[in-house]
């Protein structure tokens, strides 16, 4: 199940977003303070993390920087009423956010940005999975090569199997 984390010190913003995202069928976790949000990063793996910019104990960029360390794969978004250049640049450079959304927002825009963030997250995951698979197969190949080399060193010629026209293995008559 795709999990999404929302962080905003304004509870009514969280309810509005929860309503908006309900039909999408994602598991949506909401936090109105940074401390609890941080805690939940240890328990859940999120595909997308969306944070407000201005909050009492830590700003959204600082929070997302933490989140990036704990869950580097989660796609980070900022949803802010601030909308000034400074906060935007900070968000992009320091927390490497995927998109910067502003309040008030258009529902369909938020949903489609989250959808594309999820796609990106899944691509990242798939990519990682494929790379691991690839590495594993390479390791296997290497192990087999080494085994062959070892055999060849012990019994020269043993790895060069000779066959006749119909494919059956020929034994013993090297020349």
């Amino acid at each position: 199940m795709i999990k999404i984390q929302l962080v905003d010190d304004e509870r009514n913003i969280l309810s509005a977003l929860r309503r908006l995202l309900k039909p999408e069928g994602w598991e949506v976790h909401t936090y109105d303070n940074v401390e609890e949000a941080l805690g939940s990063l240890l328990e859940h793996e999120y595909a997308v993390i969306i944070s407000d910019y201005r909050m009492p104990t830590a700003d959204g960029v600082t929070y997302l920087q933490f989140a990036k360390q704990r869950q580097p794969d989660a796609i980070r978004l900022v949803l802010s009423a601030y909308g000034d250049r400074e906060s935007m640049i900070k968000a992009i450079n320091q927390a490497e956010v995927h998109r910067y959304l502003s309040k008030p927002w258009e529902d369909h825009e938020v949903v489609s940005v989250i959808r594309s963030a999820i796609d990106l997250y899944q691509l990242k995951k798939e990519n990682q999975r494929l790379r691991q698979e690839n590495d594993r197969q390479k390791d296997m190949l290497r192990a087999r090569e080494e085994e062959l080399l070892r055999l060849e060193a012990e019994n020269p010629g043993i790895t060069r199997v000779q066959r006749d026209a119909d494919g059956s293995v020929l034994i013993g008559n090297d020349d």
């Binding site: 913003i13 509005a16 309503r19 309040k103």
Partner: protein, 282 residues
């Protein structure tokens, strides 16, 4: 305009020019304050507008669902058909959530309304005359306007005493209190407390703004009321806040004092006569 027949001393001329410069300063400070606040107020308004706007879009979806049910009353062949629709639209959730949606949206609009009313109260450009005014109401108005500057920096504590109406230009007093509050918030590095205290003392009203900020160093103490004196980075402070506040209080025949301990905090005390001494009564 001076005219040639009444010779003016250099002193008088200088005074007139100073007075004019002061007026201009007052105006420019007001503009600067408005500019600084505009960003904060935009933030304060964008939050409630954000969720109210989104809730309205959700409401549209909910209504479409409900209409699907009510319109099926005519076309459905059996009650069971209706029940199926009712289940499909998650009627129980919808009914509960509709109430929350409306309550929260109303709360949002109330917030916007309060902010706008505060801004209007605050600007009061028309009525620049001395009138008996409710100081506590003025403080609440000001708090509403600067809420955004304060809430992330400090817990605001009100210790209001009994105060009669005070004869003053309330919009200007609000501006002074705003300057003191914003300074207090700026002086607090992480999170602290700002206490606003009021009381009557004889025939004066006293307003104190106390913070748990970094304090004012002794070598700066005597300079803070100078125009353009600031310890804030370029672009952050113009250094006009306190000098303008001082002028305003002087015009009110009051006084503005400061008490500060570096590392512990600062308390600004504003003393205002409850009734203005009659200027014609020489």
């Amino acid at each position: 305009m001076s005219n040639a027949s009444t010779p003016q001393s250099d002193q008088e001329l200088l005074n007139a020019r100073l007075e004019q410069a002061n007026q201009q300063l007052l105006q420019s400070e007001k503009l600067a304050a408005i500019g600084q606040l505009a960003a904060g107020v935009a933030h304060e308004i964008n939050n409630p507008v954000g969720y109210v706007y989104s809730n309205l879009q959700t409401l549209d979806t909910y209504l479409n669902d409900l209409f699907r049910l009510t319109e099926a009353v005519d076309s459905a062949r059996s009650l069971d058909d209706l029940r199926v629709i009712k289940q499909n639209i998650d009627y129980d959730y919808l009914r509960d959530d509709l109430r929350d949606l409306l309550a929260e949206s109303r709360e949002g609009i109330e917030r916007v309304k309060t902010i706008i009313a505060a801004m209007k109260d605050f600007s009061h450009i028309e009525e620049e005359e001395f009138k008996p005014a409710d100081i506590h109401r003025g403080i609440e108005t000001t708090l509403n306007v600067v809420n955004n500057e304060l809430k992330y920096k400090a817990e605001v504590v009100r210790e209001f005493g009994e105060l009669p109406e005070v004869e003053c230009i309330i919009s200007q007093i609000n501006q002074v209190v705003m300057n003191l509050l914003v300074n207090a918030a700026h002086a607090i590095e992480s999170f602290g407390r700002i206490t606003i205290r009021t009381r009557q003392q004889g025939d004066t009203a006293i307003i104190e703004v106390q913070d748990t900020g970094k304090g004012i160093s002794p070598e700066h103490r005597h300079r803070i009321f100078e125009p353009f004196f600031t310890t804030k980075p370029v672009g952050k402070g113009t250094g006009l806040g306190l000098s303008l506040s001082f002028n305003i209080i002087e015009k009110h025949q009051g006084s503005l004092d400061v008490d500060s301990t570096p590392g512990e905090g600062t308390c600004f005390r504003l003393t205002l006569p409850i009734t203005q001494p009659d200027p014609n009564n020489e």
